[in-house]
């Protein structure tokens, strides 16, 4: 049995304005699994990632990493792990953003090594060695000294993947990683994610790329109106007779 890395139970999220984005979302991810979350805009996909990565506070339910509770509900109130535990929990995951969010005043190399050095206290030389290997793997070796603004969107997104990987997370989240890219650049980013999947990186990917999700995922989750409408292996989902799901997938793959 592979180790359970992430466990989300009955996650709820209601924004201050009363908008109930997540009604009841549960997800368990084991080591080495690739899970894609698909669904129409406003279905709550991105909110799942934001809650799981603690960018957005949750309204109910629980989130745990490597068997350690991060957020949970007690007597109707949301509690969170102690500072020390939270620090360890936050090291478990990384997140790749839709619009990269690279640090513009840092070169590619600095973007990748700064967090390991100033957060994880990795010796500078070691951080550089690690970054060089990552850049090599992602085909960006010649860009190490460039500033982000000189790179294409696809290159920027690959750098942001390298930046996330440099901290050696156990789980990597992707929030619509290709939505800001044209088809050609999309392909180069998807290739990198596929490569990571082949290396058994545990990943949770919110995406609109249906064909990609089908190829890369062990499991696909279809969300709508803040709940999971269907989930299963790619083949199960793509051959499902759920009318809404067929309709949704059809729109993207035609």
């Amino acid at each position: 049995m592979a180790e359970v890395l992430l466990e989300i139970n009955n996650l709820k999220k209601t924004y201050e304005d009363g908008n109930e984005v997540l009604k009841d979302f549960s997800l368990t991810v084991k080591k080495g699994e690739v899970v894609s979350i698909i669904g129409p805009s406003g279905s709550g996909k991105t909110t799942v990632l934001r809650c799981a990565t603690m960018l957005t506070p949750i309204s109910g339910g629980s989130v745990a990493y490597i068997g350690k509770k991060a957020l949970w509900e007690e007597d109707g109130k949301v509690c969170q792990a102690s500072r020390q535990d939270m620090k360890e929990i936050k090291k478990c995951f990384g997140l790749v953003f839709q619009n990269f969010n690279l640090f513009p005043h840092y070169t590619v190399m600095q973007n990748i090594i700064d967090a390991p050095i100033s957060v994880d206290k990795v010796p500078r030389q070691e951080a550089i060695e690690r970054a060089k290997m990552l850049l090599e793997r992602l085909g960006l070796s010649d860009k190490a000294d460039h500033y982000p603004f000189r790179l294409s969107g696809g290159q920027q997104q690959r750098v942001s993947i390298a930046r996330a990987l440099a901290l050696q997370p156990k789980v990597l989240f992707f929030d619509e990683p290709t939505s800001a890219l044209d088809p050609e650049l999309t392909a180069e980013v998807l290739k990198v994610i596929k490569q990571l999947a082949a290396e058994h990186m545990t990943m949770i990917i919110v995406t609109h790329e249906m064909q990609f999700a089908r190829e890369v995922s062990d499991r696909i989750i279809f969300m709508e109106h803040g709940i999971v409408q269907a989930q299963g292996t790619p083949d199960e989902l793509f051959d499902s007779d759920n009318a809404r799901l067929r309709d949704f997938i059809g729109k993207f793959t035609s």
């Binding site: 990565t53 960018l55 620090k87 936050k90 090291k91 995951f93 990384g94 997140l95 953003f97 619009n99 969010n101 690279l102 640090f103 513009p104 005043h105 700064d114 967090a115 100033s118 957060v119 994880d120 500033y147 982000p148 603004f149 942001s160 930046r163 996330a164 901290l167």
Partner: protein, 216 residues
């Protein structure tokens, strides 16, 4: 009066003007950053106090503020004011006045940085303080150079307001000589000095702006 005597007197005033300028920048820029952070504080009380402070600094004449700062120790605390306090009062008044303006520039700059930068840093494990000093501040500085240049140029000219406290800077001296000699020349020379000073400041800031444009 000989031209050379006049010039040497004006020159000594010029040094005082430059001193006021440099000291004011030295104090008001960091103070402005602190004020901006206070203004954006989650504490309603702190941000409220700061708002009032900024409103007073921007809403009343700087010349009046100079006078108030100079006489405050006497009227508020009953302390006898020595003549040497004039210069200190000028620096205090200029610093707290310019800090208010710089604070608003800093605030606009900080708020213009996308929330994605904060979020990316949070995910990578940076603390809030690390994020601010390592990630945000450099980007803010790059963006606020043009409005800061504006304020800096205004400050060069505003140093002349120190004449109300009879601090022997350029303008005070030019006015004295002008009155004594019944001549407009000293004031014209002073004007030329302010112009050249500002030309240098603008040039320097433009250079700094270029140096800071290595990223976008």
């Amino acid at each position: 009066m000989q031209t050379s005597t006049m010039l040497s007197q004006l020159a000594s005033g010029m040094l005082v003007s430059i001193e006021i300028f440099v000291l004011t920048l030295l104090f008001s820029l960091p103070l402005g950053l602190l004020v901006a952070l206070g203004r954006m504080s989650k504490s309603r009380i702190l941000s409220g106090i700061i708002k009032v402070y900024i409103a007073i600094m921007r809403g009343t004449p700087l010349m009046l503020q100079l006078i108030v700062v100079y006489f405050a120790p006497y009227y508020v605390f009953g302390i006898n004011i020595s003549a040497r306090f004039r210069f200190t009062a000028v620096i205090i008044a200029f610093s707290i006045n310019y800090a208010a303006y710089f604070a608003e520039i800093f605030r606009a700059g900080i708020q213009s940085i996308s929330v994605g930068q904060w979020e990316a840093a949070q995910i990578l494990g940076y603390t809030k303080t690390q994020t601010f000093f390592k990630i945000i501040l450099v980007q803010v500085i790059q963006r606020i150079i043009p409005p800061v240049t504006n304020e800096t140029i205004t400050l060069v000219k505003d140093t002349s307001l120190s004449f109300v406290l009879s601090v022997a800077e350029m303008f005070t001296i030019a006015k004295q000589i002008g009155a004594r000699e019944a001549s407009i020349v000293p004031l014209m020379v002073a004007g030329l000095f302010y112009f050249v000073f500002n030309y240098v400041v603008a040039f320097g800031m433009e250079y700094f702006e270029k140096r800071m444009s290595y990223f976008r």
